[in-house]
Point group: C2
Chain length 142, copies 2
DNA sequence: GCCGTTTCTTGACTCATTCCAGATTCTGGA
DNA sequence: TCCAGAATCTGGAATGAGTCAAGAAACGGC
């Protein structure tokens, strides 16, 4: 797990100021992958005391823009964030309980980036979401 | 393009009652792929006269549940609907203007359904979203 | 330590979507 | 064709994630 000082370096590398809310959000996202914004607000507050939700929303937007965290938002779910960016992994989402699990990319590094026909688009990312039922939910449902 | 009577059959097959709002919504979704809910409400109203937004939301939910239309919702966008379900196609989304374009699946029929490790999930669908810039936006951005 | 710029706080606000309760409409069987 | 039961539609109000704006506070280079 990255130490706080690693987050400081990440922020500096991205030309972003190092503030306690930002460090707390980076720590929260790293420790709780796929957490939604509300959970992150709770974790950050447990860490720092009172922090405005606006600050957390703003920090998350800045970090997403800088590429330090990734925002994922499966249909019908609120925004969630993760900091595991190096590997090109995808997500398994349970239709019943909404839990999200990481899956390594089946084919290699950036395989899915190749669409059959790009329609002239400049593609920079391919996002893959596998929908289904998690082990718990598939047994509970008759 | 399917005639109205085809939609009647589709609804009957799905054990759903045939109502004018439902036919209008099916027609609107078929004629305007990737339309958001608000546009669909407008199209349906142009067709039938006054229809409550609640009716359209409800119809869309029922049709989605019955598998007659598919709901897609890229991050940061409102819900959009399409009726092109038979082929396993994916979507190209422009980060700048939000336009959505269909892409045929690169590999074949249901290739992406195979995750490297399913973590015990029962996977029923693989959704692929390619993010990038459409031709217009990539030339307008410096 | 000081100053200019960036970031955080506070509080109100937007807008897609859902909930509710009552009125209406549709379907299958007689 | 008509009826009863069930599903659907209406209109209005509520929910809740996310955004906007203006002033206060914190960061980091000097």
């Amino acid at each position: 797990m990255p130490a706080t000082s690693d987050f400081v370096l990440e922020l500096r590398d991205a030309r972003l100021r190092v503030t306690r809310p930002r460090l707390a959000v980076l720590t929260a996202v790293a420790d709780h992958p796929h957490a939604d914004t509300d959970s992150i607000i709770g974790i950050v507050r447990a860490d720092l005391g009172e922090v405005s939700h606006q600050a957390v929303y703003d920090v998350l937007r800045v970090l997403t823009g800088a590429g330090l965290v990734r925002r994922i938002q499966p249909s019908g779910s609120v925004a969630r964030y993760e900091s595991q960016l190096a590997d090109n992994h995808h997500h398994l989402v349970c239709r019943a309980c909404g839990v999200i699990v990481d899956v390594q990319c089946a084919v290699g590094l950036t395989p899915c980036l190749t669409a059959s026909d790009d329609h002239g688009f400049t593609i920079d990312e391919a996002e893959v979401v596998y929908w289904g039922l998690c082990p718990d939910c598939s047994t509970h449902v008759s």
